[in-house]
């Protein structure tokens, strides 16, 4: 239902999230991000092109990660958002709170 794959790159950590992010598995995503932040990562690029569903609890976890990064002058960067996930990010105006790019390449090039 949910696949998370993280890779440490030169300028950021790339976190690929695929499937459905709901109340039952949102903590997996947040724990993964928290673990990278605890290790000192300040830039998380989250790739969402294969995300089909995100509920309000999933949305809250993105906000929580962004809150954790802010005091470290870090950034949560989203890419590949489309379909229903993009709609709910737009409706809740979360999309204005994070840098958003169409592709991972564009997100990484911005760093």
């Amino acid at each position: 239902m949910l696949d998370i794959e993280s890779t440490q790159l030169e300028k950021a950590v790339l976190v690929k999230v695929a499937g459905r992010l709901d109340a039952g598995n949102t903590t997996l995503f947040q724990s993964e991000c928290d673990a990278w932040i605890a290790k000192g990562a300040t830039r998380l690029v989250v790739e969402l092109s294969n995300l089909q569903y995100v509920s309000s609890m999933g949305l809250s976890s993105f906000l929580a990660v962004a809150k954790a990064l802010q005091p470290k002058s870090g950034a949560l960067i989203l890419c590949g958002l489309h379909g229903l996930p993009r709609q709910v990010f737009e409706m809740t105006r979360l999309i204005g709170l994070f840098p958003v790019f169409d592709t991972t390449e564009a997100a990484l090039a911005s760093l």
Binding site: Y53, S55, S56, S60, V88, M91
Partner: protein
């Protein structure tokens, strides 16, 4: 097709969330709703289901949630969600201030906002010591806001 409700009672616990999705999707399929519509419907169901699972019953005490759907017409689904936990109207909460930045933006409140955007004829009742939410899906007019 009709106004009779098909009902199912599930434990009000996160472990039953996928079963909640599957049950209401049976109605959505009967109604001929698209996959996209079913995902939006899941979002509404998750909000109400988790609200009951997390807050309706005292910690450590198990409780049930009753789900029901009817298909009054093709492309339309009526849904009811009820529980016998403490009286609580989730529709009464006000949406968060979306103009706030990351630091000041509260984590909660987005779900009920999305429900209001996606569901029609949302109502809450407290009757015979039961909370009941009912709504029609999908929303007849796309929201312009």
């Amino acid at each position: 097709m009709g106004t009779e409700f098909v009902r199912r009672t599930l434990p009000a616990h996160i472990d039953a969330l996928q079963e909640c999705f599957a049950f209401v999707r049976e109605g959505a399929r009967l109604s001929g709703l698209s996959d996209d519509d079913m995902n939006r419907l899941d979002l509404i169901m998750e909000e109400f289901f988790m609200n009951v699972a997390r807050h309706a019953y005292p910690a450590g005490q198990s409780g049930d949630i009753e789900l029901g759907y009817a298909v009054p017409a093709p492309g339309t689904l009526q849904v009811k969600i009820s529980d016998s936990g403490k009286m609580f109207n989730p529709l009464a909460s006000s949406p968060p201030d979306f103009s706030r930045g990351v630091a000041d933006r509260p984590l909660g409140g987005m779900g009920i906002f999305l429900v209001n955007e996606m569901a029609d004829s949302l109502s809450y009742s407290w009757l015979d010591n039961r909370n009941t939410i009912s709504f029609t899906y999908p929303k007849s007019e796309p929201s312009g806001s």
